[in-house]
């Protein structure tokens, strides 16, 4: 009896390990996160640094701010209204004295919240370092 119990325990452990290593398709562990392609462009403007233009996959729920952080290191801070504003991309920081800011547009429109808008398949995100004098 003791031998049987031990055998059952070992078998159970082996099955569990196999499930971890080889999850069945459709199972919670086997499900890959949903991703879709977006296009990202980053223009450093007068900062004289080569920009970026390319397509890559992002997960559902990704925001424009999260997406650009996949391409360049970013720094958050209070540029306007929240500590989560984006003040630096790729080492290029906003310059309030010269009125240079990082501006985000989505599919050509600036009506986007970089921190809250959730991207969709095929979205075109653009980050530009520009002078906002007008």
């Amino acid at each position: 009896m003791k031998k049987l119990k031990k055998t059952i325990k070992i078998a159970g452990a082996l099955i569990f390990a196999a499930a971890l290593l080889f999850p069945a398709e459709g199972s919670a562990m086997g499900r890959k996160p949903k991703t879709f392609p977006i296009h990202m462009a980053v223009d450093f403007g007068p900062a004289d640094k080569p920009g970026y233009s390319g397509e890559f996959e992002v997960e559902k729920g990704t925001t424009p701010k999260e997406a650009v952080s996949r391409v360049y290191p970013v720094l958050s801070g209070m540029a306007c209204c929240s500590l989560r504003d984006l003040i630096e991309i790729g080492g290029v920081r906003i310059d309030p004295a010269k009125n240079y800011w990082w501006v985000c547009s989505l599919n050509g429109s600036r009506k986007v919240s970089p921190r809250k808008t959730k991207l969709k398949r095929g979205d075109r995100v653009e980050w530009r370092y520009i002078e906002e004098s007008q």
């Binding site: 801070g77 306007c80 630096e88 310059d95 309030p96 906002e132 007008q134």
Partner: protein, 231 residues
């Protein structure tokens, strides 16, 4: 505006700051949705020089030869000079004055006499110090500038609107007027240099020598050192 210490020093520094480039008058285009309230364009306050080259809104700050506060001086608090209280108004979609200097710890009273709202933001470097909205007729808001440095104030709604508030740890400074002239009074005895600053033309440091109790400083920013301003 120069402050009189009324206490330690009797020396005076005065002079004129000028610019040898072409007289500049630049009109900034106002975005369409703001035109009704602000007009079609706003004169740029960035580089104001008259036909004689006299430069407005340059700042002259006295420093010891080592680059810190004037020798033998005390802080504005120790001199019992009340930090200057400055009024910064928002009028005709511009900040007035465009450049101001206060002793650090001094208060700036910000008002809005325009018929529309403004969104006031103050930066020190890339760091925002404060931000608040002011509707038309909003009560005056008083803000202290405690840390010495060059603060940029901007309106979040009217992108061209900006001003500079420079906070200095002592009261020996001046802002040039329309004719480029300035005066600094009550300077304690010592060896100095003057830091001359302009938002567009840059900054220079010039040794000062007092003869008796007076010294004069005339300096010309040259277009040759500032090719970006030549157009």
């Amino acid at each position: 505006m120069a402050l009189r210490s009324g206490n330690l020093g009797a020396a005076e520094l005065s002079g004129r700051i000028s610019y040898d480039g072409p007289a500049v008058k630049q009109a900034l285009r106002v975005e369409e949705k703001r035109k009704g309230a602000c007009g079609a364009s706003v004169d740029s306050p960035v580089l104001i020089a008259d036909a004689h080259g006299n430069l407005k809104n340059a700042v002259v700050i006295l420093e010891s030869r080592k680059g810190d506060a004037p020798e033998n001086s005390e802080s504005a608090a120790d001199l019992q000079v009340a930090p200057a209280k400055l009024t910064l108004d928002q009028k005709n979609c511009r900040f007035d004055p465009h450049v101001a200097v206060v002793t650090s710890g001094g208060a700036v009273e910000i008002s809005n006499t325009d018929p529309m709202a403004h969104d006031v933001r103050a930066f020190l470097g890339s760091k925002i110090i404060f931000q608040f909205e002011m509707d038309a007729g909003h009560p005056v808001v008083s803000k202290e500038f405690n840390e010495p440095g060059v603060y940029v104030l901007r309106c979040g709604l009217h992108k061209w609107m900006h001003a500079y508030v420079i906070a200095v740890a002592h009261p020996y400074f001046a802002v040039t007027s329309e004719d480029g002239s300035f005066s600094i009074f009550g300077i304690p005895e010592g060896n100095y240099r003057a830091r001359v600053w302009h938002e567009k033309l840059g900054e220079v440091v010039i040794p000062i020598t007092f003869v008796g109790e007076k010294s004069s400083l005339d300096y010309t920013f040259s277009v040759h050192n500032n090719p970006a301003t030549a157009s």
